[in-house]
Symmetry: C2
Subunit: 216 residues, 2 copies
């Protein structure tokens, strides 16, 4: 299976590509924005493709035309300018969903925010709300498609070493989770087709990831 990683140069993306390259059955195609980002991926033996998320749907579709799945893990992050929030986290995400359709890629995994519900928008601090709104509409756009999608809602991301264990369900109590564990969750989600059409929140925990995903 070949998987296009949108946002490969992000922190989760880098873990994910590395894990994929260590996995026999899965190969990563890293979508990056700048030529100088390629070295990390080439060193791992992963393919790269240069496309800006603020570009045209057709460019993203061209990058996706030889893959079996797309993982969206790009993010302007809650701390960039709000213009990037709407251009990347919302419109960039929607363009990759539309590109999946154009390229005929049926499997799509979205890395969302922990809680993107209407309640979360209304309760968010003023500085964080625009990010939640952007992720909300990207998730809504994906849900309305016929793609085989999974939406992953991670807790507060840390750079701790992964434990390979999580707590994962439709809704869980908020908590921290290592980016490396989220990468493992994505990998396992790709392996288990029972995740299609589902979404779940995930935080650090004590259940081995493969088992946690089987349970949903």
């Amino acid at each position: 299976m070949k998987v296009l990683i949108i946002g490969a140069n992000g922190q989760i993306g880098k873990h994910l590509v590395k894990l994929m390259q260590e996995t026999e059955s899965i190969h990563a195609k890293a979508m990056i924005r700048k030529e100088e980002q390629a070295a990390y991926f080439n060193n791992l033996g992963a393919e790269t493709v240069l496309v800006d998320l603020e570009g045209e749907i057709e460019q993203i579709a061209a990058a996706a035309n030889d893959v079996d799945a797309i993982v969206f893990t790009a993010g302007s992050g809650p701390k960039t300018g709000k213009d990037k929030t709407i251009m990347v986290d919302l419109d960039g995400a929607v363009k990759t969903i539309e590109a999946a359709k154009v390229a005929g890629v049926q499997r799509y995994i979205m890395i969302s925010s922990f809680d993107t519900t209407r309640t979360a928008i209304q309760e968010a601090p003023e500085s964080f709300a625009p990010y939640v709104v952007a992720k909300h509409y990207a998730d809504e756009w994906l849900r309305a498609t016929n793609l085989d999608h999974t939406i992953i809602h991670p807790g507060m991301l840390t750079n701790d070493e992964g434990t390979g264990q999580v707590t994962l369900a439709n809704t869980v109590e908020v908590g921290e989770v290592a980016r490396e564990d989220i990468a493992l969750v994505i990998l396992e989600t790709l392996k288990q087709d029972s995740t299609i059409g589902k979404e779940f929140q995930v935080v650090g925990g004590t259940t081995p990831i493969a088992e946690a995903i089987q349970s949903i």
Copy 2:
């Protein structure tokens, strides 16, 4: 007919409420954000209701529960902070659409931007693109509902006196149009049910507004 005006205190909104109060068959209910904005509308004999667009859907629905139609003419404008663009022009608009459903208000008129297509997003200058994106998704949300909607795409708005004449079609060449004429277009759109399910661009021109709207 009673019509809830979202963004009544804006420049188009003020013209619109004034025109409605001069029209026998239509009464305006001005939705405003601050108590001190009420005087202008009370002087016109128009009802007001105090609701912040960044509040809950239920509050907007309560404001809409005795009206026959909703007009959305609020706007952070392209020059406010991008956080307000996403919170007002996108999420605020969507909440009023959802409020229309909750309150059982079937008629909804959206004042959009001149061109909110994917092409317009891709071609917009960087500083303007977030606004186009916000309006794009608000329009898309409305199109996906079962509401009796009309989407009006005005050209470059001016404070010139209205002429009562416009050029109006599915697509027209971009040009200026007086806010006062847009208010007249909204009023006429409410009167002519043939506009339901349609959207059009409108700029200054030489066709009387009632006639222009009949032709679409």
